[in-house]
Symmetry: C2
Subunit: 318 residues, 2 copies
């Protein structure tokens, strides 16, 4: 009911009377008043004028489920959202939800994480109300070794969404970093629960510095606000990412991985460069020439040999 009242308030440019709300929603005016009070408590600014009614003047800068649902253009992604003000890690919560049978498209989102993590359990900073930190549950028919494809797919979706919302030029550093001007804007983390010959479910974790200030970010990091000079609606960005994720996931399911690779190449900041990849304690140096169907990076070494790398940290040389 609270969500429906909010929807009416959002749809109405001017005032809407308590009587009208009560009639449309078939609840008492006292109930309407109670819900309005609750909305105010969660940060909605609602003006009440005698004889005119209610008017929504500001929404809270929070990623509340009703803020993400409103105007969300997806079929299943984000239709079920678990929202946390503070959480250890959205990845852990999503893995648990997945084990308990959460449906494909379920989202776990938090305003901050106390134990946010990146690839290989590295620490991930999650300043409160500044970034986007969420995990999405997928249930594709894949072999465990095929899951890196979904990291690449998600990176493409994030780039498309950022372009749509901010017009900034964004690219991907293999395998999972999102960059602007060679500085880190965000990252993708893919985890899986599987039998040896069948993925049970996959969790895609997405972390993006949106309105993060320079002082809150690591030295080589940046945020959309830093690059753009203005604050960006985090809810709008989450909606755009979910939409692009769903579109690309459908393409992947219907047409396979080729169209996704093509898009990925377009956003790549890695291909064509001379790089050094560090994987555990090994180094490989050469030209990053392409990625293959598994999502692995093909590196042409000075000897002429082409080596395929499935994971590692890339540094651009020269």
């Amino acid at each position: 009911m609270r969500d429906r009242i909010l929807e009416y308030l959002k749809k109405t440019d001017s005032y809407i009377s308590g009587e009208e709300l009560s009639r449309h929603l078939k609840v008492s005016r006292a109930a309407v008043w109670k819900h309005i009070q609750e909305l105010r408590l969660s940060g909605y600014e609602i003006v009440a004028v005698p004889h005119l009614g209610y008017h929504l003047t500001a929404c809270p800068d929070k990623l509340l489920p009703q803020e993400i649902s409103f105007g969300l253009e997806t079929k299943s992604f984000g239709k079920k959202i678990y929202y946390y003000d503070t959480i250890g890690s959205t990845m852990d919560a999503a893995m648990e939800a997945g084990l308990k049978g959460a449906l494909e498209g379920t989202v776990i989102i938090a305003e901050t994480q106390t134990k946010g993590r990146g690839r290989l359990a590295r620490h991930w900073l999650s300043p409160k109300y500044k970034g986007i930190y969420f995990s999405l549950i997928l249930r594709p028919k894949l072999l465990p070794q095929e899951t890196p494809r979904l990291t690449l797919l998600s990176a493409v979706a994030v780039c498309e969404a950022i372009k749509e919302v901010s017009r900034l030029d964004v690219n991907i550093k293999w395998p999972n970093d999102i960059l602007i001007n060679e500085k880190k804007l965000g990252g993708i983390l893919t985890e899986l629960s599987a039998e040896t010959d069948e993925v049970r479910f996959i969790v895609i974790g997405i972390g993006i510095n949106v309105n993060t200030d320079k002082t809150q970010a690591l030295p080589h990091a940046t945020s959309l606000k830093e690059e753009n000079g203005e604050t960006i609606s985090r809810a709008a960005l989450v909606k755009a990412i979910l939409k692009r994720l769903e579109i690309n996931y459908q393409i992947f399911k219907k047409q396979g991985f080729h169209p996704i690779i093509d898009k990925w190449r377009h956003f790549s900041s890695t291909l064509g460069s001379r790089i050094k990849v560090t994987c555990q304690k090994e180094h490989i140096e050469g030209e990053a020439i392409d990625i293959d169907m598994d999502g692995g990076l093909l590196v042409r070494k000075d000897s002429g040999f082409i080596e395929k790398v499935m994971a590692g940290d890339v540094v651009k040389l020269g």
Copy 2:
């Protein structure tokens, strides 16, 4: 304390007085009496004779942690045991425990499962007190695609343990079935939780029909009791399996997968036979010639081509 009293009772062939127990264990005789009562309630038959003391005459036919711990020859496998009389699936409980950080070697064991599962979520029958149904948590440094190796390793350990305890001739049907006389005795299930480029933890599930009667088993299944003609101590078998698992796991970590493959070949009922493998909706027919380093089955088709299969159901032909 209860476990220590039990240990004394087990070590003593004749009677041990309450006074002696109370002195050794530094508790009151009333406390000793209370623990004896509790042991009786969990199925231990303990005779008490005035002026002589206590004497253990029978242990319950249960897989209680103290029964498995007693005389367990491992360093870490089975040192922490979660025991359930009835559980949905030991796999689910182990996945949850793994996510919460359970240590390598942790065992989840149950007398029966209401939702026991085999490969590809197939139903697994778990008649109460008749079989062995447990899951073991491992934390090896592996890529997700390397986990099938642990299925093979576990199958080897199970065969070795069954040979040790029963002297029966047992073999392995690729990828995960344990057979006696071409009838199914048990199976191995391997599940993983991972990042795309690093396994977080692996759960090995082992289900074996031990004292299962013919009427409780599926038509093509058998049990150790059926084959051997006598009841087998389930606790002794669990101990033997845990020991063999740990030994083979140490070999794998120190010497790699080769020695494990060699043992596997020895137990294989698949290699050298003409077979049909069904994988999803595809069929491959030919001679099973070997397994490779990934645990995949190599099949020589009539055309002469050798195809590698990573998963599927094998039927022996002719």
